[in-house]
Structure formats: structure tokens, C-alpha cells
Point group: C2
Chain length 294, copies 2
């Protein structure tokens, strides 16, 4: 009988029990007033109430992971926009009915994944691609000598097309779905160094035109984030060495057959959803691809 509510394996319940200086009522040990017990958004063994679909099965996940998911949802939904301040740890703890430490651990992971940035004394901010330090997160090509700086873009082509089979497969679309195709050349100090082709889902990037790309100053990912509400948060890249074909040779002003670094990159937004395919050819005679292994 006193185990009436003990099947709640929620850690928070146990912890609240530790606050039990209210244990002056030995007669009804199980009769804890519901109102005095903090009600976390979820128990350890169940999914967060607000979580839509997906996890109907008994999913084991620590509280802080559930909080992390909730915060991520707010990021995804645009409740807090890139560059903005999110609520303080104390406030979030209150909202989710958990301790500050738990919120802290959730935010720690989000910061490690570059979704948010902490600044002591100021607060926690939503990461944005409109920042010097974010500019080279996905562009690893740096000059052999001198300081890295952002290249200039010249757009060769921007059009709406139907996705070829290989593109569709990589972007989780159906073959023939509408996509935006972009081709551009990038210059470092006036030297053409990168030629790349991009594919973006037409549905999300409706209204993306050559004009908007040209007039926009700054990294393309900044434009995507601000104008299309789509933020790239990670990418997977495959690199090869290839020979320059006629097209690349002309655009990069190099000899046919010059070795180029080929990169095929798929970028993902929240929920591991692929939202960009990028195929680039890098001239590596005065630049190199820098990678840190750990």
C-alpha cells in the first residue's frame, strides 16, 4: 500500500523525498501532497510530455537529455533566434521544473555542439553564422602563408531544376523534386580558387534568386539563416583528389589536368535533416585543407 506511488522511478521524486523534513507524518508516508512535490516535465523512464510523436516506446533517457531536446525544439521553432539571448539557467530551471544543475548540463552539451554560446556574466546566446569565428567552421581551406580571410564570390548560375537521382538520394528528396541549383567561383585575393555547385531544397529556399545572393554581403549560411530560417549545424564531407576538367580549368584559370581537391559535402539542420549538397573543387597550390585530429 505504501508503495502506491513507488513505481514512479523518477529520480526527481527520490530527490524530493530527500527534502523530507516534512516527514512528521509517519502514518501516511506515501501520502505526499502532490502540490509540494516538484513535477518535472518528465520522469526518467518516460518521454517528455510535450515531445511529439517518435518516442512512444519506453525510452530511457536522462532528464538533462530531455531538457536538451526541449531547448533544441525552441531553437528549431525560432522561439529564440540566432544571435539572441536565451533565458537564464535559473529561469529555464523554473520553466522545466528541474534544478539549475540539470539545465546547466543540457546547455553544456548544446554549447559543445555549437548550437549555443555561453558568455560569462552576459548569458547564453543562440549561435549564428553572422560571426567572424563561425565563418571558418565549415570552410577549412586556409592559405599556406598569411592570415585566413573570407573569399569573394562570383555567381555563375542560379536556377530552379528538378533534382537528379544522386542529388535527391543524398538530400533525402525524391528524384525530380524541385531544387535550387547554384554555381559559383570564389576568389582569395583576386585569385580564383574554389568552384562549387550547390543544391538546396526548393521548398525551403523558395524565392532564393541570383540577385539576393549577389547583393547579400557575408557568408551564404548567414543569408540562409536570416532569410530562410534554416541554420546549418553540422556537415559530413568526403574528399578526393581529381584532375581539372575543361570547365573547372577555365573558371579557375589553370591548365587542364591540374590536380584539384574535390569535396562533396552534405549539411544538416536541426533533427539531422539534410538541407544542402555542395560539391566543390579546390585549387591547393597556395592553399591547403586544414584538419585537426583528436
Amino acid at each position: 500500500m505504501n508503495s502506491a506511488s513507488s513505481n514512479l522511478t523518477n529520480n526527481a521524486t527520490a530527490a524530493s523525498g530527500a527534502v523530507s523534513p516534512t516527514a512528521g507524518t509517519p502514518a501516511t508516508p506515501a501520502a505526499v501532497p502532490a502540490s509540494s512535490v516538484p513535477v518535472p516535465v518528465a520522469s526518467v523512464n518516460t518521454t517528455v510530455a510535450a515531445t511529439p510523436a517518435v518516442n512512444a516506446s519506453p525510452t530511457f533517457s536522462p532528464l538533462y537529455q530531455q531538457i536538451k531536446a526541449l531547448i533544441t525544439q525552441s531553437l528549431q521553432s525560432g522561439e529564440w533566434k540566432p544571435g539572441e539571448l536565451i533565458p537564464s539557467e535559473v529561469e529555464l530551471a523554473g520553466r522545466f521544473k528541474v534544478s539549475q544543475g540539470t539545465v546547466r548540463k543540457a546547455i553544456d552539451e548544446l554549447a559543445a555542439e555549437n548550437l549555443v554560446m555561453r558568455r560569462q556574466g552576459k548569458g547564453t546566446f543562440v549561435s549564428t553564422h553572422h560571426e567572424a569565428r563561425a565563418h571558418f567552421r565549415f570552410l577549412r581551406l586556409v592559405p599556406d602563408e598569411g592570415v585566413p580571410h573570407y573569399p569573394e564570390s562570383k555567381f555563375i548560375e542560379v536556377k530552379r531544376v528538378r533534382a537528379p537521382a544522386d542529388v535527391a538520394r543524398l538530400m533525402d528528396l525524391k528524384s525530380g523534386d524541385a531544387v535550387i541549383f547554384i554555381k559559383r567561383v570564389q576568389y582569395f585575393d583576386g585569385v580564383p580558387t574554389i568552384v562549387e555547385e550547390l543544391w538546396l531544397p526548393g521548398l525551403i529556399f523558395k524565392g532564393l534568386t541570383a540577385e539576393r545572393l549577389v547583393e547579400y554581403k557575408g557568408p551564404m549560411y548567414g543569408l540562409f539563416e536570416t532569410e530562410f530560417g534554416t541554420r546549418m549545424i553540422r556537415a559530413s564531407e568526403q574528399i578526393r583528389a581529381v584532375c581539372a576538367d575543361a570547365g573547372a580549368a577555365q573558371l579557375l584559370n589553370i591548365d587542364l589536368g591540374t590536380p584539384l581537391l574535390s569535396s562533396e559535402r552534405v549539411s544538416f539542420t536541426y533533427g539531422d535533416k539534410p538541407v544542402e549538397l555542395r560539391r566543390g573543387l579546390y585549387l591547393t597550390s597556395r592553399h591547403h585543407y586544414q584538419n585537426e585530429l583528436s
Copy 2:
């Protein structure tokens, strides 16, 4: 008067004060018996007593960073060897006279840097290159199709030489210092795919011969770790596209001029000390260099 010891900015002191249910002696609030106060290895604003050299200046560093440094020293000194179990968090907390939470945070970071591996219920182990999961930490070349597996090695040359200027510079040696030079070809499914040259400091790798390399089965880093007490913990890599020269073409059985991926990699051991220079040429017609950006 009761602030007699408040100029001690050590957090531990403050926390110990919180244990003050011993506050039955209001007459002498500042007279806390020294023996009852845990004496951390260091205060927040000073360097750990055991730390040799380097930080004589007033160095600000959180306790857990100091603990992390102490643990790293024990790893470096070989007190706990690769693959071995390190003392439990509780034990380390006792040794360093800090709370388990502080040790925990220190180990969290070491685990994030792949220096140790935690296993719930078992303990924390020193990372080792003798493990399946470690094998591809530094080798990012994976087959376009099929499951990655470790290549076979064929050694072309192993000799003691004097370090050329460029090699010496990258490895923090003096030009002319003794180094071990290794040249080998690596095969995937019998297909020659990688030709690479390695330079290792002669002082550290004294006694490294072709025989020992050939007879040793498994990753070279495993051999280095076990036989020479030198563990690679991170590396910095520069990648380019180049054309196969005569030597590479012959070893890889390809046409002269075939595009190859060129990698120059410097590997570091504890204390960010460079201990290996590796220059590789990768054939990327059936393999690619895989990189995750985040």
C-alpha cells in the same frame, strides 16, 4: 573578526564552512581546527604545489583544471599505462583532497579529449591505440563501398638519418638531429593505396628497426605506445591534391600524373610535444577522406 580567514579565496574553504552544523561554538567562529578542514592540493588562485616549473606567475585556474593537469601528469609518467584502470573517482577525490564532483569534471574533459575512457560500472581506463575503435581515429581514409578495415603494411625503407631542415622545423628539432625515417606502402584488399614517409625523433625511438615493425601486428601507434612509451594524442593535418610522381606511380601501380591526395601530418604526445611527421599520398579512386564538420 569573524572574517579572519575570509581572505582565503579558496572555494573549498567556503564549502567546508557550509558543513558548519558544528557551529555549536559561537565563541570562536574563526577557530576552525586545521585538521577538520580539507586541504585541497591548491587554492583557486595558485598553482598546484606539485606542478614543476612553468607556472610561477599568479596563474588563475579552476581546481578541476589543476586536478586534470595532475591526472595528465600521472598518465604521462606512466603511473597508469594505456589500457589500465585508473583509480576510482572517490579514490582520486581522497588523494587530491577535493570533492568527487571536481574529480569528475576533470575526468570528463580528459574523456572528451580521448585520453581516458569511462565504462559505467567498471571504471575509467587509460585510452590505448590497441583497440578497434581507436584504429580509425587518425586514418580517415575509408572505402567508397563496404566496411572500413585496417590496411596491410609493406615497409620499403627504415633507416636512421639526420633531420632535414623542414622536417626539423615541424618536429621542433634541430636541423641535423638524428631521426628515424620510415617509408611504407599500405594495401586495402591487396590494392596499394597509400604510400607514406614518416620521421620520428631518434632519441625517443632508439632501437626501432624494420624487423620490429614487420613482426609487429596491428597499428604502428600501438607499437609506439607499448614499446617506446610514446602515445599520440592529437594531430594536425594539411591536405592537398597533387599528381603522382614516378616513385609514387610505381609503388601504387598507377599512371604518372594520377591525382593523389597529399597529407602532411604532425602528431603530438602529452604536453603538445610533436613526435611524428608523416607525409602520405592517398589514392582516392576507390576510397575517400571522410570528415565530419561541426
